[in-house]
Symmetry: C2
Subunit: 374 residues, 2 copies
Amino acid sequence: MAERSHEVIPPIKLKDVAKAAGVSQGTASNAFNRPELVRPEVRERVAAAASRLGYAGPDPRGRLLRDGKFHAIGVVPPGAFGLSIMFSGGYTADFLAGIAEVCDEMGAALTLVSGRDQEKAQGIRNALVDGFILNRIEDLDLVDPARRRGLAVVVMDEDGDSNTNSVRLDDRDGARQAAQHLVGLGHRRFAILSVMREDRHESIFHAPGEPHHRLLTGFTHDRDRLSGYGEVLAEAGISLDEVPIIEGYVSPKGAFAGAAMLFDRAPETTAVLTMSDGLALAVLDEAHQRSISVPRDLSVVGFDDWAAAARADPPLTTVFQPVVEKGRAAARILFEGGPPRHVVLPLRLVVRSSTAPPREEGTRPAMRRKPRRP
Amino acid sequence: MAERSHEVIPPIKLKDVAKAAGVSQGTASNAFNRPELVRPEVRERVAAAASRLGYAGPDPRGRLLRDGKFHAIGVVPPGAFGLSIMFSGGYTADFLAGIAEVCDEMGAALTLVSGRDQEKAQGIRNALVDGFILNRIEDLDLVDPARRRGLAVVVMDEDGDSNTNSVRLDDRDGARQAAQHLVGLGHRRFAILSVMREDRHESIFHAPGEPHHRLLTGFTHDRDRLSGYGEVLAEAGISLDEVPIIEGYVSPKGAFAGAAMLFDRAPETTAVLTMSDGLALAVLDEAHQRSISVPRDLSVVGFDDWAAAARADPPLTTVFQPVVEKGRAAARILFEGGPPRHVVLPLRLVVRSSTAPPREEGTRPAMRRKPRRP
DNA sequence: AGGGAAATTTGAATCGGTTCAAGAAATAGG
DNA sequence: CCTATTTCTTGAACCGATTCAAATTTCCCT
């Protein structure tokens, strides 16, 4: 018949191989997966049949259905930016590297689930993974779909309810270390540069005495940092109410505006605590513009330990975040299973050269000086 | 019975939902996947039953088996370093970003397959993906296992056999552009810094006149670059045989050794063509140590356009590689299917400040000067 | 050779859906 | 009201393996 040649050859299945080798399908399966259970001669017959038929080995689909495990864990890219943001370096890259390390050890695959916004839930429902690592900030509403599928879930940067795994950093303690360092150096006149997540375009100066409940700082970790600073200052007899706090938008521009505001409105400051290296680096830059010497005239502490912090001039004292370890911890929880765990990782102050004891009273030059910029 | 409480509740399946809703399993399936085929009232009854039973929607395992598509593509980490190398920035990160972009558009997942060496083949056999992007260099032997599974495959940096998809860069043309630039500036005294992939620890100086078949340069793209250089020089009447070629090991140390050798053994050179920005940056550094001015006394061209190239002093003229686009192209081929394709992407010379016309004869200072280093 | 233990092999159940031809019900047309 | 359509539903086949109790062989001793 003419149609013969148009027929699609159905792909070879284990059953076909079994038949060709003259064994049962069960034995054929064992020949591939538990060869020690099969007599060498038979094993060989199966192998021969397989290669004769061009059979590449058991299809993972079948196995998957049967034994349920995907041997892969999933990560959802944060925000609405899509997958490629995960490779743009910095935080996400380090985080993934930590996860990847553990996946490697476990011989599991790491699956990056695509999708933005609503599509993400869809992605969660269909992902071929055994568990998910979710970002608290944007993906908290994905916990439910994942759980309903019976998947293990780890939520980052959030305590989570007591039966959801979580991994977060001890931001409060990190902030305490930073503040303690400055207090220990003898500083008494502090200012705090905070970030503001609202989409505002002007920085806000909260003068001493202003009630701090008006702060716009939104994320838990920012609040933790602030409270860490507050605690240590309080222990040193300084009320947070007396400390000027500047909130700037997280963009570089916002950071510079905040830095300028610091010099303009709080010139008596000898030590600046910040919520992020971005802000601290802006302060360094602005200080340079105004010929204010860091750390002689002003000590600056960052937060996060960006790569740029070590290269800054002067190298920035800042708080290191174990981001890679965060990834590792999250992945390990997923693989280990067991009852819900709540991991809190310690931060560590890295002392570099942007901090020093304050200048003696009287020898400090006025900070408010015209910027050199045009 | 006492055991009652110990019984494992079997997970809810579509069948259970169908029964609870009083419809056939087929209808229940449609209610989820093709709701337009189901009367609204019935659809709702199914939804109600599902939510009452805590059913999260059809399990992907079942669907997978039936319709075969994983909606994911796989990437294998190069080398024996494992997964986490993919996030260490630079080449792999850019490459993955390109792949990720396309996955996003297609709503597919990106799966990073773990495993090193032999385990990789195992990973290929079990990966839950529809296609693979493989690195030529280490993964050529993985093409077969992937193909046998009937998966689409794209091989990078290699022409591949004519029925294997491939994506590569036009290194020869990139090299031509670089050489042409220097020839156009008037240079006639060239040297070439090449890389050596063997695990040697000393650089090799191939003096003019030496037969070049002794070069150790191993990768196709390195040979392409060399041949591009050679072609253009030949067109300018300069035989490659007259050009000193230095092969250095790819480590930073090797690069510096090669750079030193250049100044020591080929001091009359006015223009250096390199196989990599790493080498070119080492030359810049060594020139600085020896107080040789670039580009006044020596023009240097890199290859790859590393991020550091633009920041170098002076900013390095180099050949830009569209790595992100490489990733995109590979992913697109996988998703588009169709007959095998062989994509060759163009490179582009980026002229910065490390190249200039040669100094006039006679005014050039002797290059061989004692290095300032201790 | 005979009996029991150990090593292999078999066959059928199961994993959780999707799909499609065929039947049933609802709707439209005359 | 009856027939022709159109819209929904059903039921069974199928996707490709793994697993395990039971059946069969092989092996080892006496």
